[in-house]
Amino acid sequence: MNDLKSGTRDALTRTASTQLIWLGLAATIGFAILMGLLYWVSALTGSHTATLDAIDEESGTVTLLLRTEPPQLDSTRATDSVSISVLGHVMEGLLRFDENNQLAPGVAERWEIREDGATFWLRPDARWSDGVPVTAHDFVFAWRTAISPATASEYAFILYPVKNGESINSGNLPVEALGVRAVNNQTLEVEFEQPLAYFEELVAFSTYHPIRESFYHSREGRYGADVDDLLYNGPFEMTLWVHGAHVRLEKNPDYWDRERIRLNVIDMPYFTTDATSALNLFKDGKVAVMDYLGAEQLNEALQQRWQLKRFGDGSVWFLAFNFSPDRVTSNWHLRKALQLITDPSELVNRVIKLPGNLPGESLFPVWLQGVNTFFRQEYPVPKIELNLEAAREHLQIAMEELGLDNPPSIALLVDDSPGAAKQAEYFQNLYGSQLGLEIRIDRQIFKQRLAKMQNQDFDLAVYGWGPDFADPLTFGELFASWNPNNNGRFNNTEYDESVRLAQSSLNPQIRMEAFARQQEILIEEVALIPNYERGRVYITDRRLQGVVRRAVGPDPDYTNAFISSD
């Protein structure tokens, strides 16, 4: 009886499994057929987009990808690289950067910089996109708006060199007191707060772009919010802005130098920060440029035989310390110990593994110009020899001074990008295994990391600084005691004096020596541990030529790009 029962059951099981297998097989095939059908249907309905090429030579159209939607196209408020890049295409300041990254005349035909101020003579054929001439009044209005405390622009400080800028921004003076004046429609007079060596660099920056007062007021606070809420005076004008989805720029027929512009349309129908989807779009020929590649995508790029290019984005990345007296990192010996065992070359070559990054040696990157040649060639960085023994001795002294029996525990603040996490774990192991320090990794999203840095809620932080203008001061100022971005509150009297000297002097020799002194102080005091100078690897379609990448100013810049026929 039992045998019979189990026999029946076995047979039943067998039938059941056979049925299951057949069912699974049928489901798989059915699913595949369904997918095929859907693909076919989508190909039928979307054929006109599927065949579209990233480069259309006939109409002069280039299709590109934007990392994000431009968050802010009001030039007085824009702070991020995407907005500044788009603004660089649709607006023009007094001066602009040309295809060789040199300053070139923009709205200003000629100019004169004096010790106490500057005069700009505007070209009469500069036009807004509605045909009205761009006048000196438009600049006066824009600068006053940007500096006004009511605007609360994060970049207001870049106007501080203009007389009374800082007092106006802190609310002590009315905006009319700003040292800028329209002599007539074509002449702009600027007064400086103090002698200034790099004002030409500043006026190319987007915060210095013109805005027409009547138009600004007619938008009732919506200036820069949509296609119709902007007036353009640059080489391109925006003709389409579907928020979150699509931006299209077309050649501005009213632009004074329109012969220079060879592209007719720059179409940006894709917004993504995801490197993998960007790579796929490029692979499918849907976009003509991939503006940076991650280490994980290099092999694929090599396999596809793409022509890779490199440019330095100008930024410097380093470990910043918190100098508050209640933090262990305020101890010089502890910082020295970390400095003596950190090898930026190993970090760049073994851990980050991206070609293009340069091992960091100083706060001042290699591309900065000195008196005659590069600053770093004229004033080489004091060399630091790695020395584990000395590092351990310094740590011992530090522990005695701090009254600790064991190596302290240190919080390392990083943002939540995968690259930052990798670096943080590298440092954690380096300082842990060599010096016995316990490193706690504090991963925060970008905004939270900035907030924590501003509240000085960190010991060590992975920090990057990009230049606002092409002068060593944009880096040197960072560690001045009064700078709000000096988050660790590094405070050194000699350093401050040296920054003030570099700010006010007009003699290049004196200024560069001041920067060299700053470079030395930062290394002697171990105010930071340089990690790397960031480089980017990017690819452009072989037919698209003349794309300009730069460290300072709108990047990437397609205003000089053209389509070559071969």
């Binding site: 092999n299 090599l302 793409w306 760049v348 070559n349 851990v351 070609p355 390392l412 192991n429």
Partner: protein
Amino acid sequence: MKELVLIAKDFTPIAVEREAQGISRPSLSYWQDAWLRLKTNRRALISLFIVVGLLVFTIAGPWVWTIDPAAQDLDQLSSPPGANRQAIIVTPYLPWSGITADPDPILGQAIGATAEIRLAQPATTQAVRLEWDPVPGATGYRVYRNLYSPEPDGALGLPIGEIYDARRISYEDLLDLRPTRFWYSIVATDDLGQEVAEYTTLVVNVIRVVTVDEAISDGLVGPNVVPKLGDEVFVKLHPLGTDYLGRDMLARLMYGARVSLFIGIIAPLFFVLIGILYGSAAGFIGGRVDQFLMRFADFVVALPFLLFMILFKIAFGIGPGESGIVPMLVALIVLSWPATARLVRGQILQIREEAYIGASQLLGAKTYYLILRHMIPNTLGVILVTITFAVPTVIFVEAFLSFIGMGVAPPTPSWGSMCNEGIQTMLNHPHELIFPALLISITVLAFNLLGDGLRDALDARMRSRE
């Protein structure tokens, strides 16, 4: 005629041997019976072996494979299992000042490619040092490196170096060197800083090297062997490869399993225990108390887990960069018991009305006897099954929380955080994702199948069948 002799024994009555129901097989207790039934279920049995194997892997593994899971082997980054480990012993790395030359300043002449590229030293994983003939009129050079030949379309590969000094005719490549073949190309730049079209390529085979000190400290040579320059050794073995920072995958998987299985076993034990106590109390007492207790359980079900996890993290004073395992455990226990409580309450309510309980009561059984002897054994099957099904769920929750960065703090590995790290290098180094993902899948599947088998085996009503 034979005389019949009777003795007293003959007058004892003959015992009637009554063949009553014979027990032909040894009597089986509840557990023995369950075990027998589990043994016949092949899937459950294999799952049981896998679970035991996992426990051994986790607890005993690190004693056998004594590699520090946090140690970074920067010479073997993201190396897959079974990678070639041959290496040559060389002297330590010394900085190189490079080579400069003064080329004849011939202006106005078309700039071509360099005549020849040479290796200044044998190419090793320490450094590849290239030198080349100066190009007349060049203002600088660009150095490219490819994994494939640049022919025929001139795809030069990675731009690894930019030289802005016309006199410098050498380049030292340190970037991510692996024992493989590289195609190095040198392009000169003209006075505008633009690259010229011509290039020269050199094929370089890079060999893996270690220094004498590394060979001794890593134990690559025997204990009494003095390594000599040029000796061939094998670099450290990583059976399952290494991750993106050169950490041993096998060691990380073992330590990661500790976190995953610790949470996966401790949390269900506790919340099921709480659930049993709560549910049986509610079920046994009944009435208004039951109503009140169960409405409270409903309230707990509605609380969001992730939010509480974060709240506990703050309440416990867990700073950034510290492990979130304890708050995770607490949040799991505090929020997960109502499911068990409901189940047990339902069972108790049902059993309370059974006839044998009434009979037992009539025979004078006390409350504790009723609960211990009748109620608990009859709910045990349900309870055990709940535990085995809770284990994979909790392992998954841990993996998920570590995946989004709420769980373990680096460098402590857990399977979830390893998956998170592995997914970023998925296309180039799939082993970093596959191994932890596979282990999570196997563990979850094994516990599920085991739970399934246990449900069948422990069901008291199936006892008399077969």
